[in-house]
């Protein structure tokens, strides 16, 4: 297994520690666990908490800092943080204005957060949540709803900025939900990641195959096919997004997320394909973010997110942020 790691069983804690050590001015790691909180604790604004499995770095902890998250809570590899950890994070950053939990829509994450929120409420903490379900490869109509993908980074940015403005919990939640309502993501994978505990690939894919719509943990997508050009791949992907949500005449932010093993050069090539396609479809691009925002270890592939902006969301998108990953 060609990974620069130490013992697989220490992977999560070493990852968290490595992030904390890189930005001591921004991050404070709670002793003995992977929870990361802001160095300058908020006192009177709504606090934001996000948690997800480890293996998706820089999420969640790379988004902790002024203007975004107050606490990041990573779970074990590819599995949700447990309610006790979530509660610990919530309690650490809670203020009188309350706590907004941002949740990516996987059953495990939702259940663990729900449990943690119940426990927090029992301790008289005002806590609300927003569930991100941006993956158009999954059906909206399903009772479990859509999976959450990298688009969550954009919602964190928006909600974080609204919270810094001093808005109350219901307003921050409302704005986050409004942003999420105009958010769509679609992924594609061409190489599996290798699970550190057993050295096995997370899924099988033929020599020349890719899969459009695959989830962050190798969940089934919508189309398995031979590798296509960047242009055709992007067209297929954006078609799925535009079939689902009408962005015509809208202004959007584009987030191109590498899954860990796809290099910057390809992401830039992809961007120009996206740009051309959106221009042809009368969609205006306000800004484009390109990089590794929510990975799956070293999986090959990427995702495209579009988020609709209105003047208020634009201001929030542009507002100051000081995190390891996003700075404004």
């Amino acid at each position: 297994m060609k990974k620069f790691i130490n013992k697989p069983e220490n992977l999560e804690i070493e990852t968290a520690r490595g992030m904390a050590l890189a930005k001591p001015n921004i991050l404070r790691q709670l002793p003995g666990c992977n929870i990361m909180v802001r160095q300058n604790k908020k006192t009177d604004r709504v606090a934001l908490v996000f948690g997800c499995g480890s293996g998706h770095e820089p999420a969640p902890n790379g988004y902790v800092g002024y203007g975004m998250l107050d606490a990041g809570i990573p779970g074990k590899l590819f599995s949700s943080p447990t309610p006790d950890m979530l509660l610990k994070g919530i309690k650490e950053v809670q203020t009188e204005a309350g706590v907004l939990c941002i949740i990516v829509n996987y059953t495990g994450d939702v259940l663990n957060f729900r449990m943690a929120m119940e426990m927090a409420q029992m301790e008289n903490i005002a806590v609300e949540s927003v569930i991100i379900a941006d993956d158009v490869a999954t059906q909206k109509t399903k009772s479990v709803g859509r999976r959450g993908l990298a688009g969550v980074a954009l919602v964190m940015k928006i909600a974080g900025a609204e919270a810094e403005m001093g808005s109350d919990l219901y307003r921050v939640k409302e704005v986050a939900e409004w942003a999420a309502s105009g958010l769509r993501t679609i992924g594609v994978a061409c190489r599996p990641c290798i699970i550190p505990s057993d050295g096995e690939p997370s899924f099988e894919l033929g020599e020349t195959e890719m899969e459009i719509g695959m989830g962050l943990h190798g969940e089934p997508g919508v189309l398995r096919c031979d590798m296509m050009s960047a242009k055709d791949t992007v067209h297929q992907m954006l078609e799925l997004i535009l079939l689902d949500c009408n962005y015509e005449n809208s202004e959007v932010v584009v987030l191109i997320n590498g899954l860990g093993g796809t290099p910057p050069m390809e992401l830039y090539v992809i961007n120009q394909c996206i740009h051309d396609y959106l221009a042809e479809h009368g969609i205006k691009i306000y800004d484009t973010m390109i990089g590794n925002f929510m990975t799956s270890l070293e999986m090959g592939g990427f995702s495209i997110s579009l988020m609709r902006l209105d003047p208020h969301l634009k201001a929030l998108y542009d507002a100051a942020a000081v995190t390891s990953v996003i700075r404004r």
Binding site: S80, T82, P83, L111, T138
Partner: protein, 215 residues
């Protein structure tokens, strides 16, 4: 009437039973989920075996012991099953706060309340191919046998048998909750791992009750 001794024996039996079935539960989860349900439950079971005798050494309150088990589910199981079983035991513990003994009625009520807790936290109900397809029928069967005035071993037996039927039923339906929901129709034909765990738990409860001659 049962006391701390029975409760400890029951959790010990449950833990052993789950550990024995770790591979089997993983295998079931592999078909329709991510293949970790056995590992998740076994991790919890090992902790219970080690930790519960210790904890209960200076705790006689059965509600507190159940609460402790619930917290252990929450911290140790992970995945979906963690908060679900956690909620089950936390909720079940409420009506037994300050009880050092439990009557049959206490057990049946605790089980019902636990089941309601799972349904509430999971925002799910019967027929969605989850552990609730074992929990709800078992809860009803236990309620009925209690009303018929049966003994605790008989009540647990009724629960275990109803859970087993529920597990069989999960094979016939499509999942609409949990990971298995993503694979849609392809989930039909496979039995739900969470429901299977519920069945194993009730079988162990029954066996412990028989072995210890409780009433």
């Amino acid at each position: 009437m049962t006391g701390k001794e029975f409760m400890l024996a029951a959790f010990e039996a449950i833990s052993h039973n789950i550990i024995e079935h770790e591979e089997y539960l993983n295998h079931l989860d592999n078909a329709i989920g991510d293949g970790d349900h056995g590992t998740n439950m076994a991790r919890f079971s090992h902790i219970i075996l080690k930790d519960l005798p210790e904890f209960s050494a200076d705790h006689d309150d059965l509600g507190e012991i159940m609460h402790h088990v619930g917290m252990c589910c929450i911290t140790e199981i992970g995945g979906s099953a963690g908060p679900l079983f956690g909620k089950f035991f936390l909720q079940a513990s409420l009506s037994n706060k300050n009880n050092t003994f439990m009557e049959a009625a206490n057990w049946v009520l605790a089980f019902e309340e636990g089941t309601m807790g799972v349904s509430q936290i999971g925002q799910s109900t019967e027929g969605e191919k989850t552990m609730l397809d074992a929990l709800f029928p078992a809860s009803r069967a236990m309620q009925e046998t209690l009303e018929e005035g049966k003994s605790l071993p008989e009540i647990f037996l009724a629960g275990a048998e109803a859970a087993e039927k529920g597990v069989e039923f999960t094979k016939t339906i499509q999942a609409s909750k949990g990971r298995a929901a993503y694979i849609g129709q392809r989930s039909i034909g496979h039995q739900d791992p969470g429901a299977t765990t519920v069945m194993l738990m009730l079988q162990s409860m029954h066996k412990t009750a028989v072995d210890m001659h409780v009433e």
